[in-house]
């Protein structure tokens, strides 16, 4: 979650949005003429993200002068705020949340209204993975408005040039490139091991490419045990990186003390301490280095493992509906259009899952490539750890975060790590 705030920092470039707003208003005007009322909404977008979303709202209210949309930010506290509001019987009309688990929880308690009316426009604008993720028992409850692509590897252009290596497309090529990088004098991998979630993200990317989407789904729902052979195989592949301690700045123990922002600057700084980092499209937003895209740093897609087809692991913020009013319906339908997404996309710091947002809308070339890869991915899966019970998938110092840190400490212990993952997952699911 905290990354999302940082993501937006990158994107404060003021741009000529007027033209886009005008086109979107034209599109929306024809559809929802005559709707009136007010819409209350809360969500996780704060700071620059809130401002950009306000521009999206303005695009709607210009076309529908009868509707007032009031967005208040709840930041990281959104789940707590919503749970309290639902318990108190007075939720907002709409909310933007980052956890599919929260949506499912509210839907199963009957607190949410389905948004099946938007199925048509979503089918037109999104790949099927997104509606599957937003559905509970055949009804659509969540509209993904903002996405995040976590299947990216960022690298320092100078370090790659010094070593004479090119962005690798396959796993063996990556390992070879890492050796060459080490010989050239720059360790290959920056690892922010103090933040356990960076390690789970790496595992998820390796797993979906080595075991496939079907097993990924089974593991997500704990229908597959963590002691499964496919998990161990993925851990072994991961161990090729963790085991190469000379190729990590500060070695493994150094990596365990390195937090995520530090690991980003190890790569993005002008004199890099490491050549590449495995993390999502929010990486440049975290950097304090002032480096420039393309000339100083660049990005490539997560390499293919054993010839696997491209797949994207990521996250997303979805809009959910608590009160079914004509005004809320009109606004949700509007958010599903490419015009609405384009308003924010043109401002930067945003990846739309909407595949009809034109590539030229993104001003930053790297933002463009990661966003387009996300929206057009045939296989998209939500971050696995984010779909787990929090005790297992999202808590500092325990569950996945802690166990993958233990794995970084001792990458030979594949069987032991698989066993403790299974033990921790089983305990968390039992409590659930």
């Amino acid at each position: 979650m905290r990354i999302k705030k940082l993501t937006a920092l990158v994107a404060l470039t003021a741009l000529a949005v007027a033209a886009l707003v005008a086109t979107s208003t034209a599109g929306a005007k024809t559809k929802h003429r005559g709707v009136s009322g007010s819409v209350s909404m809360t969500g996780i977008w704060t700071g620059p993200e809130e401002q950009n979303f306000q521009a999206v709202i303005d695009g709607f209210t210009k076309a529908n002068p009868g509707v007032k949309v009031k967005y208040t930010s709840s930041g990281d506290q959104t789940p707590t705020v919503l749970s309290t509001a639902v318990a108190g019987g007075n939720p907002p009309d709409l909310a933007a949340v980052g956890q599919p688990g929260l949506m499912k929880d509210f839907a199963s308690r009957g607190a949410l209204k389905p948004i099946d009316f938007a199925k048509g426009v979503i089918a037109k604008n999104y790949t099927p993975s997104w509606s599957t993720l937003g559905s509970v028992k055949g009804h659509l409850y969540g509209l993904f408005f903002k996405g995040a692509n976590k299947s990216t590897v960022w690298y320092n252009v100078k370090a790659f040039k010094n070593a004479g290596v090119k962005p690798p497309a396959t796993w063996p090529a990556l390992v070879t490139a890492a050796k060459t990088l080490r010989a050239s004098g720059t360790p290959a991998y920056a690892i922010g091991g103090a933040d356990g979630w960076t390690l789970t993200d790496l595992f998820e990317n390796i797993y979906i490419r080595s075991a496939g989407a079907a097993k990924y789904d089974q593991l997500t729902n704990h229908q597959l045990k963590w002691t499964d052979g496919s998990v161990k195989a993925a851990l072994k592949i991961m161990g090729q990186i963790f085991g190469d301690t000379a190729n990590i700045p500060g070695g493994r123990s150094g990596a365990l003390q390195t937090d995520f922002p530090t690991s980003v600057d190890q790569v993005l700084n002008a004199t890099p301490k490491a050549a590449m980092i495995f993390e999502g499209d929010f990486v440049p937003g975290v950097s304090k280095s002032g480096s420039k895209a393309l000339t100083d740093y660049n990005v490539f897609s997560f390499p293919s493992v054993n010839g696997s087809a491209p797949a994207v692991v990521g996250g997303g913020d979805m809009v959910i509906m608590f009160k079914d009013t004509p005004a809320a319906r009109a606004f949700v339908s509007y958010l599903a259009t490419s015009q609405a997404a384009a308003i924010w996309a043109s401002k930067g710091g945003f990846s739309s899952p909407n595949k009809n947002v034109k590539a030229s809308t993104y001003k930053d070339p790297l933002n463009r490539s990661t966003a387009i890869a996300l929206a057009h991915a045939k296989t998209f899966r939500f971050d696995l750890s984010d779909l787990q019970p929090a005790a297992f998938g999202g808590t500092v110092g325990q569950g996945e975060w802690k166990i993958f840190q233990d794995f970084l400490k001792n990458p030979k212990n594949v069987n032991g790590i698989a066993a403790s993952l299974e033990k921790s997952a089983a305990a968390a699911y039992k409590k659930k």
Binding site: N162, S184, S253
Partner: protein, 447 residues
């Protein structure tokens, strides 16, 4: 106080009995009126939450199912809580005693210096900072990398002045026949004789890490009676062929190369030229070996892992002591100034040494103050929480965990098990009660 009030209330009661009752009632009403706001605040923010916490600890995570004492039995099997209790025991054993001792030493010593006010202000200063902010300061100072953490920066500066890092700290051999380790230096395993050549290729040196003045490496020309060789950065973009001097690969100047004779002694040593070449004259027979000394590869100080699993709890304790030592010093100094000087003078005239005065007179006289400081710290240490959260990074938060932190993490840190969290809170409450009682009794005695 109440005794005094009843005395003043009595005379009018005697003079005019009927008027006494409404007056008493009014007094009562006034008292209640003054008490009420405090009572409401206490009730809403202390009594109700405390009672509800006990109640909540008998329910499961969702709060819908009564689970009896399950949460309390879970306390004993939960690894995090187990670790937290052990850590809390260390805290209780070490920290209050250390803070009291340091405060005592500071208080006694500052009595004798003219700039004591300045010193006391400096030591007391951390008390003005919130504990969380103090934790953040220490977390930054505790960073492992000497360039980022002040503590390791100081240790590193001292360390590196005694054993300066080598010119090629990160280098490693490019071919398997060049063996050794950073501590012993590298030795070319191939025995050399007259007319032999030694190719000492190194990799892992960043371009900006090359010594100034390095030139294109030159393959040595073997000659009779000589052993010639080259030390060079055996890398060009793309990798190149290991063990072969290629265009674009630089020689490394200034590397000390030794020639070991067949018996293991040093035959001669020399320094490589700008193109990396070196040669040894007057070589007879065979069995020589070329070596690069360990000094070349000596790594700079890499930093103590203050925030690693082993040292993180001591690191947090140091931060905590840094904050609270000032408090202890000020309280003890106040107590010290209340001690009669005559007693101290008397014992000095009786021939007691300074140590004896301190040990046998000052400390016993200060005992009440010392126990106040000690017990206050004991209670604080049992409840210690925010500084642990702010000093320990995520990867070692479990290693540094204490009971209050375990309670917070279980309740709000993502797990959101309010049942178990409440049970931990109750457990902590029970631990604090005996010390509180001790304190209350002491207050009563003093009153």
């Amino acid at each position: 106080m109440s005794g005094g009030a009843s005395v003043t209330a009595e005379p009018p009661a005697r003079g005019a009995p009927p008027a006494a009752e409404p007056g008493g009632l009014r007094k009562h009403a006034v008292a209640v009126g003054f008490m009420l706001p405090a009572a409401i605040l206490l009730g809403v923010w202390v009594v109700y939450p405390a009672v509800y916490t006990v109640f909540r600890s008998f329910f499961n995570a969702t709060g819908k199912k009564f689970v009896g004492i399950d949460n309390y039995t879970a306390l004993w099997s939960d690894e995090l809580i187990h670790k937290s209790i052990v850590n809390n025991v260390y805290w209780v054993l070490v920290v209050p005693a250390l803070i009291t001792a340091i405060g005592l030493v500071f208080a006694v010593l500052t009595e004798r210096i003219s700039w004591s006010v300045a010193f006391k202000t400096a030591v007391f200063m951390p008390m003005a900072i919130s504990l969380f902010a103090a934790g953040v300061i220490w977390r930054i100072m505790d960073q492992q990398e000497p360039g980022r953490g002040a503590l390791n920066g100081v240790i590193g500066a001292v360390h590196d002045s005694f054993s300066p890092p080598g010119v090629l700290a990160d280098a490693s051999p490019s071919v398997p026949s060049l063996k050794g380790s950073a501590s012993q230096g590298l030795v070319l395993q191939k025995p050399l004789g007259s007319g032999g050549e030694a190719l000492l290729g190194l990799t892992g040196i960043p371009p900006e890490g090359m010594p100034a003045g390095a030139k294109q490496a030159v393959a040595p020309q073997p000659a009779d009676g000589k052993i010639v060789g080259v030390v060079w950065r055996d890398f060009k973009p793309g990798g190149g062929v290991p063990g072969k001097v290629e265009p674009g690969e630089l020689g490394i100047p200034g590397v000390k190369v030794a020639l070991k004779d067949p018996k293991g002694g040093t035959f001669a040593s020399t320094t490589s030229a700008a193109d990396g070449t070196f040669s040894f004259d007057g070589v007879k027979g065979t069995g020589y070996k070329a070596a690069i000394s360990a000094q070349t590869f000596r790594k700079p100080f890499s930093g103590v892992a203050w925030l690693g699993p082993r040292l993180v709890t001591p690191a947090v304790m140091i931060a905590y002591i840094w904050v609270w030592a000032g408090f202890a010093m000020v309280v003890i100094a106040a107590g010290l100034s209340a001690i009669s000087r005559e007693v101290l003078e008397a014992s000095r005239t009786d021939g007691a040494t300074e140590w004896q005065v301190f040990r046998r007179v000052t400390v016993p006289l200060l005992a009440p103050v010392l126990s106040v400081v000690f017990i206050t710290m004991l209670i604080n240490v049992l409840k210690v929480f925010d500084i642990v959260l702010s000093v320990a990074p995520g990867s070692t938060q479990t290693d540094a965990s204490v009971i209050a932190l375990a309670m917070w993490r279980t309740s709000f840190g993502g797990v959101n098990d309010f049942g178990l969290g409440s049970a931990i809170a109750v457990f902590l409450f029970v631990l604090v009660i005996p010390i509180l009682l001790l304190n209350v009794r002491r207050f009563k005695r003093e009153a």
